[in-house]
């Protein structure tokens, strides 16, 4: 059953249009990829979904409810969280303060303790550094914190914008293993990546976004096919 649906989304900044009708869906527990070159509109797509970039058309549905055009602080309360590009942790605050802020977006205030315990199981290193300034963490630890901070809100849909950015290959693998675990626990996970190969192998479906439109959709099987992948990414398929 479809949990999350983006329908014909259009968005832009000022006089410039960036997205020209993007549609995608995700079901409970699915991991979906979105890949595409710099400036394709990937971050704009996420921004438009979570309410930080103005919509110019189309809608977003979460569990059947139309959440398009709502404010970011209301959208997160409905169960949709974004781990933004560049992590955006509060570097001057401690790790636990960052996590506590993440609790703000919960619908159910009773589960706070459980949510923090789950973070402890998934990212033990954050518990070790609980009272340290978040800015002192390594890049990989900061990414874990950014994910954990979104996770404590118990999202039904988790969006991640380039979680691999600036991380070494081993750390990237580590982070993606956790994302798989998160999806397996029932959350729909949508990952934006510039480095397509990171996500195509894992994702149920990977959409290629170029020039503000979804140009192709790849399945896990397609991912093995190097030629098909390259063609989809660079947009010279069938020509």
């Amino acid at each position: 059953m479809t949990l999350f649906e983006v329908r014909d989304l259009r968005a832009g900044y000022g006089k410039v249009d960036v997205l020209f009708g993007v549609s995608l869906t995700a079901s409970k527990g699915e991991l979906i990829g979105i890949v595409g070159p710099n400036g394709a509109g990937k971050s704009t797509l996420f921004g438009a979904i979570v309410g930080t970039v103005g919509l110019r058309g189309g809608s977003v549905f979460l569990d059947g409810e139309d959440i398009s055009g709502k404010r970011p602080e209301d959208i997160v309360r409905r169960g949709l969280s974004l781990v933004p590009e560049g992590r955006q942790i509060f570097s001057g605050l401690s790790v636990i303060e960052n996590l506590t802020l993440g609790l703000t977006g919960r619908r159910d205030k009773h589960g706070e303790k459980g949510a923090l315990e789950r973070v402890h199981d998934l990212f033990p290193v954050l518990t070790t550094h609980r009272d340290h300034q978040a800015g002192m963490l390594s890049g990989g630890q900061q990414q874990q914190l950014a994910i954990a901070r979104a996770l404590v809100a118990d999202p039904r849909v988790l969006l991640l914008d380039e979680p691999s950015l600036g991380l070494s290959p081993t750390v990237v693998k580590d982070v993606f293993d956790r994302l798989i675990a998160i999806a397996e626990s029932g959350t729909a996970v949508v990952i934006v990546e510039q480095r397509a190969h990171l996500v195509t192998r894992l994702a149920e479906r990977t959409h290629v976004l170029r020039a503000g439109k979804l140009q192709a959709t790849l399945t896990k099987e397609d991912a093995a096919d190097e030629a098909k992948l390259t063609a989809a990414y660079f947009g010279n398929s069938g020509e």
Binding site: T52, V76, T104, G105
Partner: protein
């Protein structure tokens, strides 16, 4: 000598409170709310107009009135300006300031209104042969208590955490569920309450309230937050304290030359800013506002 130090500390404390009120609003909105002066003024009028009431009632009323007015400023004027550039917001806050001064003039007249408020605090007492004014001691105690309470609020409560987060990156705070309207309104209400405390101390010292009563202290508190570092509440309070204390000491040191106290204080301010352009406790955390 001891009295001079007490006076410096108490004036420093008052300016620290004024600067903190300004700094709170600046933190979440990047708005230099010049009309903070009119919050101090309205609280002062409230104290003078209700001087026949029991002191506690009078103080509570002044806090309520100043907080309400701060909230109205945000709802009627500043809310529309979210995300505008800081210069626009500053100009609008000048406008709000002037408008309120005119309204005060219409309601209370241009001449000072006066009444002795808290007469119990105007005397002096002697400790070990040194005469000390009651007002300076009460002011210091009040400032310390309020600053500690604010420290607790900012460092230990959820609201404080949200205020700190929003001051460093409001957009991310909203993504996590921080309700922007509610948070900004809270910052205004708290700044109104702080203005009322400043008003109380000032009215006790000088119960001659006119429409421009809050202006001087607000301008100096603004200097204070620039000196201390606009991006940190600690810096704002510290800067306010330094400006108040230095001004008070200069008045004593300069004796007959005290008309130059402001000039010398600005010399000191300029020197501080030359050494630390971002303020004493400067941090660079300027991100896009809501």
């Amino acid at each position: 000598m001891i009295q001079a130090i007490l006076d410096a500390v108490s004036l420093g404390g008052v300016y620290a409170l004024a600067a903190l009120g300004l700094g709170l609003v600046f933190g979440v909105m990047r708005l230099v709310n010049f009309a903070h002066a009119e919050l101090i003024t309205v609280a002062s009028y409230t104290l003078v107009m209700t001087h026949q009431f029991p002191l506690v009632v009078s103080i509570v009323l002044s806090v309520v009135v100043a907080s309400l007015m701060a909230l109205l400023m945000e709802l009627l004027a500043y809310r529309r300006l979210r995300g505008s550039n800081p210069a626009t917001m500053l100009i609008v806050s000048f406008g709000v300031s002037v408008l309120l001064q005119k309204i005060y003039e219409l309601v209370f007249g241009a001449l000072p209104r006066s009444a002795s408020v808290a007469t119990g605090l105007t005397g002096a007492f002697t400790v070990g042969g040194v005469s000390i004014t009651t007002a300076s001691v009460v002011t210091i105690v009040l400032a310390v208590v309020i600053l500690l309470a604010m420290g607790y609020l900012i460092e230990r409560t959820k609201l404080g955490l949200q205020l700190r987060a929003a001051a460093s990156d409001f957009q991310t705070a909203r993504l996590l569920g921080v309700r922007s309207n509610r948070l900004i309104a809270s910052a205004f209400v708290i700044s109104g309450a702080l203005a009322a405390v400043v008003a109380f101390v000032n009215v006790v010292g000088n119960p001659q309230v006119d429409p421009r009563f809050g202006l001087d202290i607000t301008i100096l508190a603004l200097v204070g937050i620039v000196v201390g570092g606009m991006n940190s509440l600690r810096g704002s309070a510290l800067g306010g304290f330094i400006v108040g204390a230095v001004l008070s000491l200069l008045n004593v040191i300069l004796g007959n030359g005290r008309v130059y106290a402001y000039s010398w204080m600005f010399v000191i301010v300029i020197v501080i800013l030359l050494v630390r352009p971002g303020g004493i406790l400067s941090k660079f955390a300027t991100k896009e506002r809501v």
